[in-house]
């Protein structure tokens, strides 16, 4: 019966047809037929994680570092629910991902069967789309559409829930999907009259800013190149969201650094004083805008986004350009050149920016007692690794913001972080996924002592698959960002934010077959980092840093871009209820 294949076999063939090389997963009862179909199949490598949350984040890291969709395979019930955080994370950060979940047999759905959960119901609002497959004959078509939905338009996670009987039942199979669906066709180019308007606005602006985001990265390396080209034509300075770091080279003279809550003074002041803001693949997130009614008050705003629902969601814009960042940038460049525009004289604008830059907002107090300031640790890590163009992942918290401020990225796909959902425990599995996709790259998870424990079990995954990832922990024995907020807004009542009973990270590393390095003082820092890089296998560095350091600059919640706190500013330690109520 060559022409008949089981659902599980069709699934594997469909994944191969989509170019899938790696699947991050964890087996269980409801996916046993799929695991059996994968057994001995050389075309797809299965990366066995230690927890399904790790599978989802590893797939995200793989996707972010390679530009290809990440694929996850987990069982029903707890397998699926454990993956939900990673799915929600991918949804908020627009990461292309296809998640295959096993489901109890069709006849048992709704009966509260063993390991049954309503996966389609649970993931309905944290996926771009999801499916419950009822018939193996639909499977190839659904997998084809799932990959297109995950990768086209604004990328995102797609869940395909497959009951066990559908995996086992057979159907006629001709080698490919018989019926392709083409109902999903996002708009990728903006109308030409809108482009002409954008070009005219750019050509007359006296104080323009490019405000770029993760959409430029998602659009691909060509979009990052086009961004540089348009910047060269116009001379406008560039700032970026957390998710967009690397889309524009940090070494460039017109790079302002990141904007927003922990952005640079010059980036936020430029946004506040600009007469034209061109938002490219970003979404005016609350971490970026600060107080909405004081956000960039005097500028006209152009918003390039492939997702129409991002337009006017929080900030009204003057000119929406719905389309793919790269394509629209190309349209604008063509329009600019065709119109024969020359760059405006922006000397005065750049002079004002240089004035703000002179505030040196990323400065921090130096220590003379041998203690390591966390910012300095990141700076040294950057200096000693930059030649290797490392891929950096992070967890979530102070260390993440310090990495965003003090590690510099000149190319896209080198920076993997959980921006929208802010998921602690993202960094280690994401680094593992990135290392799987980029085996020769130096991949470093910059972590905090609290975050790293959230998916610490994935150390075993790296060991098993001989992935030489590095984990660089800024250990201040606090959930640092929580502690910082408690200091600034709750009069230093440090409610449950102390990292008590921390493990010995060096011994933990060794227990998993990793190398462990502890750095206690400044004179050990460079040698410790070099030892980490030189070791061919995976390494944990436990870098003990100044415990009470805060992450500045900072726009307190509810404040405007012009109300940044810098190191050395007086901080009240209290906040009114309106400000406290903001996230």
């Amino acid at each position: 019966m060559k022409s008949e294949r089981s659902g599980a076999e069709i699934l594997v063939e469909s994944l191969v047809a989509k170019g899938v090389e790696f699947v991050f997963g964890y087996p269980g009862g409801a996916v046993l037929p799929i695991y059996d179909a994968l057994f001995g199949d050389e075309r797809i490598r299965h990366i066995l994680v230690r927890h399904e949350a790790g599978a989802a984040h590893a797939a995200e890291g793989y996707a972010r570092a390679t530009g290809k969709p990440g694929v996850v395979l987990v069982t029903s019930g707890p397998g699926a629910t454990n993956a939900v955080t990673g799915i929600a994370d991918a949804f908020l950060d627009s990461i292309p991902m296809v998640v295959i979940t096993g489901q109890v047999p069709t006849a048992l759905i709704g009966s509260d069967a063993f390991q049954e959960a309503d996966t389609v119901g649970i993931t309905r609002h944290c996926t771009k789309h999801n499916y419950l497959v009822k018939d193996p004959a639909e499977l190839a078509t659904i997998i084809d559409e799932a990959f297109r939905i995950a990768t086209e338009g604004r990328p995102g996670p797609v869940v395909v829930d497959i009951p066990k009987d559908v995996q086992i039942a057979s159907t006629r199979w001709t080698g490919q999907a018989t019926q392709m669906r083409n109902r999903y066709a996002p708009q990728v180019e903006a109308p030409s009259d809108a482009i002409a308007q954008a070009v005219a606005m750019l050509a007359t602006a006296k104080a323009p800013v490019f405000y770029t985001g993760g959409g430029v990265i998602n659009s691909g390396p060509e979009a990052a190149r086009l961004l540089q080209e348009l910047q060269t034509l116009t001379g406008a300075p560039v700032t970026s969201t957390l998710m967009g770091l690397g889309a524009f080279p940090a070494a460039h003279k017109d790079w302002l650094g990141m904007l927003g809550m922990h952005g640079t003074y010059e980036a936020n002041m430029a946004m506040n004083r600009a007469d034209l803001v061109v938002c490219i693949g970003a979404r005016f997130d609350d971490r970026v805008t600060g107080r909405l009614d004081a956000f960039s008050p005097d500028s006209r705003k152009i918003h390039i986004d492939i997702d129409r629902a991002s337009i006017n969601k929080t900030v009204r814009v003057d000119l929406p350009l719905v389309g793919d960042c790269g394509r629209v940038l190309h349209q604008i460049i063509t329009g600019w050149l065709d119109a024969g525009h020359q760059a405006q004289d922006l000397t005065e604008w750049h002079a004002r920016i240089n004035g703000w830059r002179a505030r040196n907002s990323l400065a921090y107090p130096k220590r003379t007692n041998g203690e390591i300031m966390p910012q300095l640790a990141i700076e040294r890590l950057y200096e000693l690794t930059k030649d290797r163009e490392p891929i950096i992942s992070t967890e979530v918290g102070q260390h993440q913001m310090w990495a965003a401020q003090h590690f510099h990225f000149d190319r896209p796909n080198k920076w993997l972080t959980s921006g929208g959902l802010g998921t602690m425990g993202y960094g280690l599995p994401a680094a593992i996924g990135a290392q799987v996709g980029c085996p020769d790259a130096l991949v470093i998870d910059i972590a905090g002592d609290a975050s790293i424990q959230m998916n610490i079990q994935e150390l075993g995954t790296a060991t098993q698959f001989r992935l030489p990832v590095k984990v660089f922990i800024l250990n201040n024995e606090w959930m640092g960002m929580v502690r910082q907020w408690q200091e600034l807004t709750y009069e230093s009542r440090y409610s449950s934010s102390y990292s008590d009973a921390l493990p010995d990270f060096v011994k933990l590393a060794e227990a998993y077959g990793w190398k462990g390095i502890q750095i206690d003082t400044l004179d050990q820092l460079d040698d410790g980092i070099r030892a980490m890089i030189d070791h061919p296998g995976p390494v944990i560095v436990d870098c003990r840093v100044t415990k009470e350091a805060n992450c500045f600059p900072m726009i307190p919640s509810g404040a405007a871009h012009t109300d940044m706190i810098l190191y050395g500013d007086e901080v009240a330690g209290t906040m009114d209820d309106e400000a406290k109520a903001l996230v």
């Binding site: 119901g121 309905r124 997702d307 129409r308 006017n312 309106e578």
Partner: protein
């Protein structure tokens, strides 16, 4: 002390055509709850011979920017073919069907029947002491009829929620 502030609201009627697939109604209704939008009424039925496309009419209210977001968020769903904001595009027809049970004797019963004639309501069930009226029309017409019936022995009201359509020869 902090207080929750309210914003000015507008009422809009949206029609949505969708693939008639499992979970689509949950997806749409859930989008409204997940993002904090309001549903005043929702009607849905399939409209093709193959039963593969459904048409939904949703009445919602919110600030203008939120209405625009609702429109965009609905369009973003993969099974959604088209969203039309009838209030925005207008003018449009909106009709609703109601079943209204009234019980009473003597003069009240006679008056209920007389008013039903005035409103062109049909009697679809009767006993010696009750009627069920079937009334179709714009929602405010039904509101008025129901409030009149309250004085005459109103027992129960069932309403479909409105179905809406753009006036004129063109499809929305």
């Amino acid at each position: 002390m902090m207080k929750i502030k309210a914003e000015a609201q507008e009422r809009h009627v949206l029609t949505i055509t969708v693939d008639n697939e499992a979970g689509i109604l949950a997806k749409i209704a859930g989008l409204f709850t997940a993002r904090g939008y309001n549903i005043d009424s929702l009607t849905v039925a399939d409209i093709t011979d193959e039963h593969d496309v459904s048409r939904i009419t949703i009445v919602t209210h919110g600030p203008p920017a939120v209405i625009d977001q609702i429109h965009a968020q609905l369009e973003r769903l993969v099974p959604v073919h088209k969203v039309t904001d009838l209030t925005e595009v207008g003018p449009y027809v909106a009709r609703e069907l109601a079943l209204i049970k009234v019980a009473g004797k003597g003069e009240n019963r006679v008056e209920a029947l007389r008013l039903a004639e005035v409103f062109r309501a049909n009697v679809v069930d009767t006993t010696t002491s009750s009627f069920i009226f079937e009334l179709t029309g714009a929602p405010d017409k039904i509101d008025t009829f129901v409030s009149l019936m309250k004085e005459l022995g109103l027992v129960e009201v069932g309403r479909t929620g409105i179905v809406g359509m753009i006036r004129g020869a063109e499809a929305a």
